[in-house]
Subunit: 140 residues, 2 copies
């Protein structure tokens, strides 16, 4: 029992560290492009709506939810989307979802561009590579 708990903990930590590593990758891209960017602390554990990254320059502010997937469809919970909307609305930032599929670059989509699948939302690898913006297009 204890062993199973420990294994569960390791899987959870491994997922968390992969998430952080993806966020950091994007953070480096923003700084390299001359934008300021921050990762949010405790984004999953606060009682307030939160996002993973916030990036800004003198003209624009972006609130970003980061997702990665090894499959061809990435599901997002309604809560993820609601938090992104709520935070961006209050802060005064553009809401963006950043997704990186296996062996693709980062693609950026707005909330209107993802399809609802039951109570959740889904992003298809094939659709996002057509509809999504590349990093260079996003910051243009």
């Amino acid at each position: 029992m204890r062993r199973r708990l420990y294994e569960g903990f390791l899987i959870k930590m491994s997922r968390k560290s992969k998430g952080i590593s993806a966020e950091r990758d994007l953070l480096h891209k923003f700084w390299a492009a001359g934008w300021a960017c921050l990762r949010a602390a405790g984004s999953g554990s606060m009682k307030y709506p939160c996002v993973d990254l916030i990036a800004g320059n003198k003209l624009r502010k972006l609130a970003i939810e980061c997702k990665t997937s090894k499959n061809t469809i990435k599901y997002l919970s309604k809560e993820d989307i609601d938090q992104l909307k709520a935070f961006s609305g209050l802060f005064g930032a553009e809401p963006w979802i950043a997704v990186r599929f296996y062996k693709t670059e980062w693609f950026f989509v707005s909330i209107e561009d993802i399809r609802q699948s039951g109570i959740n939302f889904a992003i298809d690898k094939n659709i996002i590579t057509l509809k999504g913006l590349l990093f260079e297009e996003l910051i243009k």
Copy 2:
């Protein structure tokens, strides 16, 4: 030796958790006032300029460095000030230093309002309670 290292670690962690607790206190005040606010992850450990908190509404964005002190003078390093300036300049936010002394409320000062003391900067409790803005004045 090992014991001393462990005690040093505990003191460092205790300082860190006090810092986080002060940042959270301020974060709650912003949300309660209808602003969105984020704590930055790893603000002391990234290679980029960073701040402790970022708060925003549709009109204003604030980059905030938080400090607390039990003494009557709080010293800030030149690096703290340089990071606050650099981040705010790139992100397009107003730079603010939030200070809470023992048994006082939070006071907010801009960089021009703190005096340089050798290579560092100093904030006097008596001066800040006259010159600094209260939270309610800051967000007005």
